[in-house]
């Protein structure tokens, strides 16, 4: 009899995962309630997780298994999207939920976890496969990993993996310190650093678009691309995350991880195969190829911003410094924009403009690839019917909220004469594939259970991206900026426009 499952039918069945127990540290927190449990329940609804599946939650709060199940049920009912809540399925799913209260800074907590894991392995036939999920505050990552190591929890009869949520440190040094603690207990192949942007369908679709088609890749280089803009805008403010955000800022919270990962996906070389290490090697190579700014170059190539109070419609919106938990003199960047260059043959001289901010006019994430003008215009006398006068060919990879791809090109306006106007060819992910797309957490959780790390970041990638932003962080830490410098509800500070203007470019309005 073969070792692999002969009943598998890859053509029709979604990827299957082996039985396992997931130990969630910080199980009483928001992430577990809002994202993890709804995603896991949804996977159960789609019949994607095996009968022998269990979740062991941990936090300080005293709770019985039953109370934990009740609390998780409330979360799933409230935060489940796009699928009905099925009582029978929940009752079955909840039988696999367990809870152990304990202080993760104390060794006895891990001993209790070990005992419960042994019981669960017997009861649920998990084959000793264990996935640890760090959903605690980042300051507890190192104590938890040490606790796992000291209690020998990483030594299981089956496989052992650990998922680490961002932030992976708050700078290069702390990231390396965290990694040193992790690698004392786990091998790199067991570590899954989650960047939920990489789990988004359309970020994955960038790979399909680039490497599944023959017609775009020949244009994907400095010869044809003028510049690239990557935007991740949020219309909301920091809300209840003021305290955390004050220490983090947009550069750390978005650009260091999500946007640089997206940039790596857009600009990397084709991997030899769609396999975890092949894809991650190429992403890592690209991140290492980004030119590190010299201190004197930061002011020209990076712009911090902070939103001030404004009236948006009928609403009076607070400025960042007026938000709850925020210092009234805070120098935090709620907006960050930076210009990066990739030092390789493909991209030399092509600016990559990245920006992210809060309280911008709308929630949108997209990648815009601006192609060069035609080398010679035969329509010199025909004015371009475009407000911006920008080059005609623009490829937009839309990540959220309306996922899809648009290609803008010029067309002749109907009628006499040769008047050109830009038109758009649209592919809408949602309407072309009516099937519901799995949430990023569903994708990533399924991947880690299946042992597929393609969409997870690796330590060398984390360090490379910290190296890219570290000079900016250093420079901004030494400078007192005149903040706030943009009104809530606008597209960021003027200095950001000027950053692009020095190379003759303008931010597009997404």
């Amino acid at each position: 009899m073969p070792e692999t499952n002969p009943f598998q039918d890859p053509l029709r069945f979604e990827r299957r995962v082996p039985p396992c127990a997931i130990v969630i540290f910080g199980a009483n927190g928001d992430l577990t309630l809002r994202k993890l449990l709804p995603a896991l329940y949804r996977l159960a609804y789609e019949r994607r997780i095996p009968p022998g599946f269990a979740i062991l939650g941990n936090s300080r709060t005293e709770m019985s298994d039953e109370q934990f199940r009740e609390k998780m049920k409330e979360g799933v009912e409230k935060f489940l999207e796009d699928s009905p809540f099925d009582e029978d399925l929940w009752n079955s799913f909840a039988q696999g939920l367990f809870y152990v209260a304990g202080d993760i800074t104390k060794p006895e907590c891990f001993e209790t976890i070990r005992t419960r894991l042994d019981e669960i392995a017997q009861e649920r036939s998990t084959n000793g496969n264990v996935l640890f999920y760090l959903s605690t505050q980042p300051s507890y990552y190192i104590p938890v990993v040490q606790g796992i190591g000291n209690a020998g929890l990483h030594d299981n009869p089956g496989w052992t993996r650990i998922v680490v949520e961002k932030p992976f440190g708050h700078d290069l040094d702390s990231s390396m310190e965290l990694n040193q603690a992790i690698e004392k207990v786990f091998d790199e192949s067991q570590v899954y650093r989650i960047d939920h942007y990489l789990g988004k369908e359309t970020v994955q679709n960038v790979l399909a678009f680039r490497f599944g088609n023959g017609i775009f890749e020949p244009l994907w280089n400095r010869r044809y691309v003028d510049h690239v803009q990557i935007t991740a805008a949020e219309s909301i403010g920091v809300g209840s995350r003021g305290g955390y955000y004050q220490e983090a800022g947009a550069l750390r919270d978005m650009i260091q991880n999500h946007l640089l990962q997206i940039m790596a996906t857009v600009a990397m070389e084709p991997p030899p195969a769609f396999e975890p290490d092949s894809v991650r090697d190429e992403r890592a190579k690209l991140l290492r190829s980004i030119r590190i700014m010299k201190p004197e170059e930061v002011a020209q190539n990076a712009v911090p911003g902070q939103y001030g109070p404004a009236r948006i419609g009928d609403e009076e919106v607070l400025g960042f410094r007026q938000e709850k938990g925020v210092d009234s003199e805070a120098q935090t960047d709620t907006y960050a924009a930076a210009t990066f260059f990739v030092e390789n043959w493909r991209w030399a001289g092509v600016p990559f403009y990245l920006r992210s901010g809060k309280r911008l006019p709308k929630r949108v994430t997209d990648i815009a690839i601006q192609f060069n003008d035609a080398p010679h215009s035969v329509f010199a006398d025909a004015p371009v019917n475009s407000r911006s006068g920008r080059g005609p060919n623009l490829l937009i990879l839309r990540i959220q909220p309306e996922e899809g791809i648009s290609l803008r090109f010029r067309s002749k306006q109907p009628g006499a004469g040769m008047q050109l106007r830009p038109v758009s060819m649209d592919f809408n992910y949602g309407s072309s594939f009516g099937e519901r797309s799995p949430s990023a957490y569903e994708t990533l959780l399924l991947d880690v259970m299946a042992g597929d790390s393609t969409l997870y970041t690796r330590q060398d990638m984390v360090e490379a991206s910290w190296k890219v932003v570290q000079p900016i962080l250093n420079s901004w830490a030494e400078t007192k900026f005149d903040l706030p410098n943009y009104d809530a509800g606008t597209w960021g500070p003027k200095a950001s426009d000027e950053m692009l203007a020095q190379r003759g470019h303008v931010w597009r309005v997404p």
């Binding site: 039985p19 159960a44 095996p50 009968p51 022998g52 099925d86 309407s431």
Partner: protein, 327 residues
């Protein structure tokens, strides 16, 4: 309805549909014309409780196509009738309508042969052609071979056909001619197969497969229908010839549903049993869980089949075996 049906006229009608829709919608966001294949539906009029148009409307979200519905009724030579129109839908929160082309041709059984040359002019170039035989009786029609010649894939629904064994023979014959063939009765058991497969994702259980000596399939019809037969064959060819596959009647409905599957081995017992309209209990030795089985609509089954443009090797394997005769 026109009386002299010609492909050029129908294509012209489609052009007019697009022109008028473009004018109507130009101020509200426009119309997006979507097409990923030609889908030919062969239908006997009034043979099915759900109108074919309803199923096609549900399908177009995932598989936009130029759908050509051939409605067949009556005998004798009679002129064909045809019309062309568009099916549209507005994605939630968007201003742009998405529309698919649809052509409907009415024919008698005897005139069906005259439809084929018209179809040749209506097929969308460079895209796949799928023939969906919604009324399997039409396979008896002498024109059927010409229809199947037009398509890369032929989909039938044997559940609706009285003489399943004859139809199975026809499907096997098509498959042996290298025509990609599928049967929605096979599609219906994907989720049963999926759950069985899931049980054996546990590496410790893979070794136990060779010990399975009995498979019991309970079904709700007096005879095991095509879905039960397919499931039995699939299991037997994977587990091995020594495994005894038995069928049992559970209940007396005519819905052709599989009610339960049991696998019994030396140290393993697997049972998957319907307990309600949308839930099945899954029991593996002492561990009991459940899974959701939503009611499957015709469009769900077609959606799955249209997502597989190439050959389904597992189905081809199953077709290589004779159906169980003594049950």
């Amino acid at each position: 309805m026109s009386t002299q049906v010609q492909a050029a006229d129908l294509l012209h009608q489609l052009d007019e549909v697009w022109s008028s829709m473009g004018k109507e919608q130009s101020e509200t966001g426009g119309v997006l014309r979507a097409c990923a294949m030609t889908l030919i539906a062969l239908v006997e009029d009034n043979s099915h409780p759900i109108d074919v148009g309803e199923t096609l409307a549900e399908l177009m979200h995932d598989h936009p196509s130029r759908a050509i519905v051939i409605r067949v009724s009556g005998e004798g030579k009679a002129p064909l009738e045809a019309r062309a129109f568009a099916q549209c839908w507005m994605p939630f929160g968007r201003r742009q309508q998405i529309c698919c082309e649809q052509i409907e041709i009415r024919s008698t059984h005897d005139s069906l042969v005259n439809v084929v040359p018209i179809l040749r002019g209506l097929i969308v170039p460079d895209l796949p052609v799928v023939l969906w035989v919604r009324s399997p009786n039409l396979i008896h029609n002498p024109a059927f071979a010409s229809f199947s010649d037009l398509a890369q894939k032929v989909i039938v629904e044997s559940k609706l056909f009285g003489d399943w064994k004859w139809l199975n023979h026809e499907i096997r014959s098509l498959s042996s001619q290298k025509k990609i063939t599928s049967d929605l009765a096979w599609t219906r058991i994907t989720r049963w197969r999926e759950l069985i497969s899931q049980v054996f994702e546990n590496s410790e259980r893979v070794d136990q497969i060779s010990t399975i000596h009995t498979v019991l399939i309970q079904h709700s019809s007096p005879e095991p229908g095509p879905a039960a037969q397919y499931l039995g064959i699939w299991l037997k060819q994977i587990i091995g010839k020594s495994c005894n596959v038995r069928f049992e009647v559970a209940g007396t409905t005519q819905t052709w549903q599989i009610q339960q599957v049991e696998l019994q081995g030396d140290n393993i017992h697997v049972s998957i049993q319907r307990t309600g309209s949308s839930v099945v209990d899954v029991q593996v030795n002492d561990l009991k869980t459940c899974a959701v089985f939503r009611t499957l609509r015709e469009s769900d089954l077609l959606r799955e089949e249209l997502s597989i443009p190439g050959e389904d090797s597992q189905f081809v394997k199953v077709l290589g075996y004779e159906p169980f005769s003594q049950v």
